[in-house]
């Protein structure tokens, strides 16, 4: 009985509000396109990549539905516990044998769990929880105090350093972007923002100058400037991807055509990080812009959700999710078209990969929960 009571407490009281159908529809459309692209990129390999991804999509949809129906405010209370769990998992990846010299996964038998993907969602909730005025606060102050700013840095730094050690520079940068956007949305002053960004620029210069990046990371950055620098075929991937997308031209070569670079598997990782090359080559600029538009719709919906959230916490969660997804989109597509270094950030809903898909579905489910509960409580109105 107590369990049922608890479920009733946690479950979203709909109050006549509808799910965000546009958000859900866009997510479904991208997932469908993703399956199609994964099939086109792997149909000769015999690896059943698309079939695996279908399972992940199904699991992701269940996660979306469940998380939509959990009152997002419940997370605020248990976020310290969730944070501890995710940190333990982030430590745990180092206990298992590295795959391709990288400690990123926890083997679960049926699939490899990537805790870093879920850590993004956890950090968003933790930051939103910190930066939104607590309901118990006596006199909620506007903006962000320097103390909170310091705490926010700490919240991001611990998982970011762990993930950087895997090593996964791309995901580390996602945390930095989420932090900046959330601090700004939460009302950080210009002085605080400039201080942070300044510190970021200085540390970037330090990292580049003093060789804190590994050789391959530096080479990947150099590839952007000068494709002739190619010590380990790193630029090859970038050049092939750019060539595949460019050759798609305006309307693309069509789906499943013989003789495309995608068909010949000329682009390494073309079903995961480089899935956009399959879109660009087969569907052309039109398909590429359609994908961009879909992500723009998601960004628009998430900002609308943020604007209509019943409280600041929900608003910041939605903004954080938007920041995370848009950074992924920008860096991933930017990488395939040769304006961003190869960092290994996948493209939401399109790239093959279980943990990532489920984490993205979870994020949109939480955002939908914010939308479902949007009717403002009069006492909280003043805070928005």
């Amino acid at each position: 009985m107590t369990v049922l009571t608890r479920i009733r407490e946690v479950a979203v009281v709909r109050r006549g509000n509808r799910s965000d159908r546009i958000l859900f529809g866009t997510m479904l459309a991208l997932s469908g396109l993703g399956l199609l692209m994964i099939y086109s990129a792997t149909r000769n390999t015999g690896t059943f990549s698309m079939e695996r991804q279908m399972i992940f999509v199904a699991a992701g949809l269940i996660i979306y539905l469940v998380s939509s129906n959990i009152d997002y405010r419940e997370y605020r209370g248990i976020i310290p516990m969730i944070s501890v769990i995710i940190l333990i998992l982030l430590f745990a990846v180092f206990l298992f044998d590295p795959v391709n010299e990288v400690n990123r996964w926890i083997p679960l038998g049926f699939f490899f769990l990537q805790p870093a993907e879920f850590a993004k969602v956890v950090v968003i909730i933790a930051l939103a929880s910190l930066l939104a005025p607590s309901m118990h606060e006596e006199s909620p102050q506007r903006g962000v105090s320097w103390k909170k700013l310091g705490l926010a840095l700490l919240i991001v730094a611990v998982p970011a350093v762990l993930i950087y050690k895997q090593p996964d520079l791309g995901t580390t940068l996602v945390f930095v972007f989420i932090l900046l956007v959330l601090l700004f949305a939460a009302g950080a002053t210009w002085r605080q923002m400039v201080t942070l960004i300044g510190a970021g620029v200085v540390s970037t210069v330090v990292v580049l100058r003093f060789g804190l990046l590994s050789d391959y990371q530096m080479d990947r950055i150099r590839c952007l400037v000068d494709a002739e620098v190619d010590p380990q075929d790193l630029c090859y991937q970038l050049g092939q991807s750019k060539r595949a997308i460019g050759s798609g031209q305006l309307l693309g070569k069509g789906l499943f055509q013989e003789g495309t670079l995608t068909h010949f598997e000329y682009v390494p990782e073309q079903e995961t990080d480089f899935i956009f090359t399959a879109v660009g080559e087969q569907l052309g600029l039109l398909g590429g812009l359609l994908v961009l538009t879909a992500f723009a719709v998601i960004a628009w919906r998430l900002l609308v959700i943020a604007a209509n959230s019943r409280d600041r916490f929900g608003a910041l969660v939605a903004v954080g999710i938007a920041a995370m997804m848009m950074f992924h989109v920008f860096v991933n597509i930017g990488m395939t078209v040769g304006i961003m270094p190869v960092t290994g950030l996948p493209l939401p809903f399109l790239s093959q990969g279980g943990s990532f898909y489920m984490a993205m579905a979870l994020a949109l489910g939480i955002a939908n929960s914010v939308w479902l509960l949007r009717t403002p409580v009069p006492s909280e109105n003043q805070l928005i």
Partner: protein, 655 residues
Amino acid sequence: MKFAVRLSVVGIVFVMMFSVVGLRLWVIQVAEGPEIALAAAEQTWIQQSIAAPRGDIFDRNGVLLATSRVVPAVVVDRTFVQPEEREALVDRLSSILAIDRAALDDLYEKAGINGRFQVTTVSIEMAYRINENLDSLPGVEVAKVPERIYLTGPTLAHVMGHLGLPDAADLEENPDIDPSVRVGKLGVEKSYEEYLQGTAGQLEYRVRRGDIIDTRPSVDPVQGSSLTLTIDLELQDLTEMALEEAIALSNTVKDQDRAAGLEVFSETEHGAIVVLDAQTFEVLASASYPDFDPQRFVAGIDETTFSALNDSEAFNNLATNGLYPPASTFKAITYTVIEEENLPFPTGIEGIDAANRQVHCDGKLELPNLSDGSPQSKSDWYDPGNLGWLGIHSALEKSCNIFFWSAALGTYQAYRAPSPKETVIQDWSMELGYGTRTGVDLSTEAAGIVPTRELFEEWAEYQIENPDQPPRLDPSRLEIASPWLGGDLMDFAIGQGAFTATPLQVAVSYAALVNGGRVLEPRVVREITSADGQVTPVVAPLRRTVPISAQTRSDLLTDLNRVVTNGTARLAFSQFGPGLEKIGGKTGTGQSTAVRDNHAWFVGVAPIDDPKYVVVVLIDEGGSGGRIAAPVGRHILQYLMGNEPMPIVEGEDAD
């Protein structure tokens, strides 16, 4: 700032990020799209080159000297080798073929992704063995490849040249060549590389996961053009045998001299012979000793053999690259200058009759009044004994050094810079081809040195500035006003001193002297015949015509005949047989350093009524020209004039 405003700012940031990506997509897909699409379409095709057989090489009478045959070769195509199979494949293949594993691995690495490379040519038996094992050798195939074959072995090696894999210099010169296809490295194989190499064929196909799924029409290779040389193989054979016999003779004579207590410094190991057509400048025969077998380079020569050959100077074509003082053979040129320029003889010197242009040839020249006023005596280092008073004709016949010295001394005293005639003898020699490359159509050639005051002053300056470099001039020369002295011109007039020339340059100068002054660039190739049968004649280009009066020319030819009938080559030509009156010649004995034996020279001209052949014989440190080189010249001239060539035996010890 209101929360809504902050959200808008975040939205604007997103819009900016999307715009950047969208714009970039437009640039590569639309603006640069067509160009990139073209490159992408080509990229999926793999090009395989099919080697073209090199052109054949014939002698002037159509005798085949070099051709191409088809041999089996083991080829590895990496397109069909999965990465995990590589180690096992390299192991297996290196053990079957008994070749170095590391070398094979290196070839594999260099071929690159989807690359194709030839491991080695193999015997028929090995080809069968590989074919039977193809199942366990992924990516391996036995292909038929063209291979060079030299039908005459080491004969004519220096003119033919040899092949080798292109080095950095070859690739820089011609970046389009396939680095795995052998190219000419020497001789006509190198100088006519662009004609001989042919055009590689091409096969294009597309591969997915180890299967060929698509092919384009193939282009057949086109064999290279064939060359018809100016060389007469029969004469070449005779010449090469004569050269070897001469070197053997020289060593026999040295043994005798040693036994007689005379000083001998070394064994004779090098020599060269050139037979040049005096009218067309076609090289009819060109021999250089020691030689090598070009066939050994076809499959790749090992380091030890190469070094041994290289150390013995086997690759050095001494006919075009050997530099020697031309010695008394040069007197024919000085002779012509004396006659044409009416060079003055010195007055007031005992033994020189300036008025009658006669000299008392007794092996010694007393010089009382040199520029610095001190008396000097110059002895003929090759003392012929007392020959009495000689004019120019007898002086050439007897190779009298005193006579030509006197003419040079008279020139030195009469014409001093800034008079342009100071270098009158050098100018003539340069007009006749000394001091510059002859322009022969072979890959390498030396230019030689014609010494002048200007050159000596340059050397002196260099020597003072670079005291650590090996000196060219005696240090005492650096202390006087000009390092160039009368003695230098006197030495030059008899082909000695700092003067050096190649046997081919000597042949060119004689050909010009006897053909009326025409200097052409010698040629070893007569015709180029393309694969479709088009014939392009190769004509020796005319460099210049040196005006020589008919009188001088005919006098010279007469006097050259006196050399073989009555002069320094008389003994060597005593058994010439009928037609000796049509032969001209000149011996030479090149003074080397004090601790080396003399170089033996002989130049023959025939027939003197209408000169066709110039024969130049040089035996490096071979001894006396009359004794060693003249008998070789006689042997070859006998053949050329239709006489039975008599054995090469020792001639008279004469300059």
